[in-house]
Symmetry: C2
Subunit: 227 residues, 2 copies
Amino acid sequence: MADIRVIEVKESVFADNDRKADELRARLRREGMFLLNLMSSPGSGKTTTLLRTAEALRDELSLAVMEADIDSDVDARTMVDAGVRSIQVHTGGMCHLDAAMTEQGLDALVATGGPVDLAILENVGNLVCPAEFDTGASANAMILSVPEGDDKPLKYPLMFSICDVVLINKIDAMPIFDFDLARATENIHLRNPRAEVIPICAKTGEGIEAWAAWLRRAVAAWKGDAA
Amino acid sequence: MADIRVIEVKESVFADNDRKADELRARLRREGMFLLNLMSSPGSGKTTTLLRTAEALRDELSLAVMEADIDSDVDARTMVDAGVRSIQVHTGGMCHLDAAMTEQGLDALVATGGPVDLAILENVGNLVCPAEFDTGASANAMILSVPEGDDKPLKYPLMFSICDVVLINKIDAMPIFDFDLARATENIHLRNPRAEVIPICAKTGEGIEAWAAWLRRAVAAWKGDAA
């Protein structure tokens, strides 16, 4: 089994996380790296979605993943076993990553083989605290999974309001859960009218092409290659 | 539609939350009230489980619910519409409740009609932060739902280690998710050998009698009525 690179990150000494986040974003832009901050509840399917994403974009973009968790290296192991460049980031009990922690993770990721077109931070599974800290990422994405229910944008408003794109995962489970896609989309747009909503099933691959297309456009725009 | 009592709770000024929690527990014991702190990820089925619980225990115990959320009164409305005594507690953006916030909520709940045998705090949906703050409750319970996956005890160790009982909900969805009940139980006991594990399906009512029996015993023991 491959060795998993695990890094312990420490909470920021910066009083002003927003300033640190802006600095990191400027660096990312200079270095032509797009960093996606992917958030969700525990168990919404972040890791499976990332496996599918890596598969879809493998031939076009260099991609690497930072798996953040309080403990365990379960997710980085899954990624590495699937051939995806990945490190495990441990937050030392912290419920979120700030910009300084994110940069420590990014430096460790770059050290494993140089810069990438697309770096993805799989944030700690939590709909509350990660929304409060700008990580310095190029864009914020979140996954809402069908079993969680279509009322979540009402209960976790900040998370939905800061995301550029919301993936609705596990849509294959829609028949057995009381989840209305139109109502979910309406609740999301109530919090954030500009959020793109993309229904997917990471397990079957449904919708992954639309998600990959979103990422392609975002990365190209970030690098200034496209309109 | 019934009016929903909403209370805004403030973070504790107590430096020592543990002391405040012990004081609240002593008060609960004096007043013969059992307070259950119910935690989980967003969307694991806490509210539906509480509706079933109230149904199962209605004729034996007086029961009331504090629905804690960052925003919205969706859950308290659901409970009140079902005839369950309930208030909505808003945490003002906070990702958890501490003992002082819990006591503010409890006082507001008691003000709606006197003490109860069983008060239940539905904590903010979050597997990280609520585990770090003793609310002063008589017991801690959590729900792990099948779609979240059986690896969650590995990723959120503290939450599983502080719970007296873990309900595994949505077991009707087991056939369509990769969730192994034996492996989940093993992972839970790895974190907490004493945790009781009760599989349920809040939607169909399966397992609710076992859960109600656990609560009956716990309330009776707390009141000193039973061995």
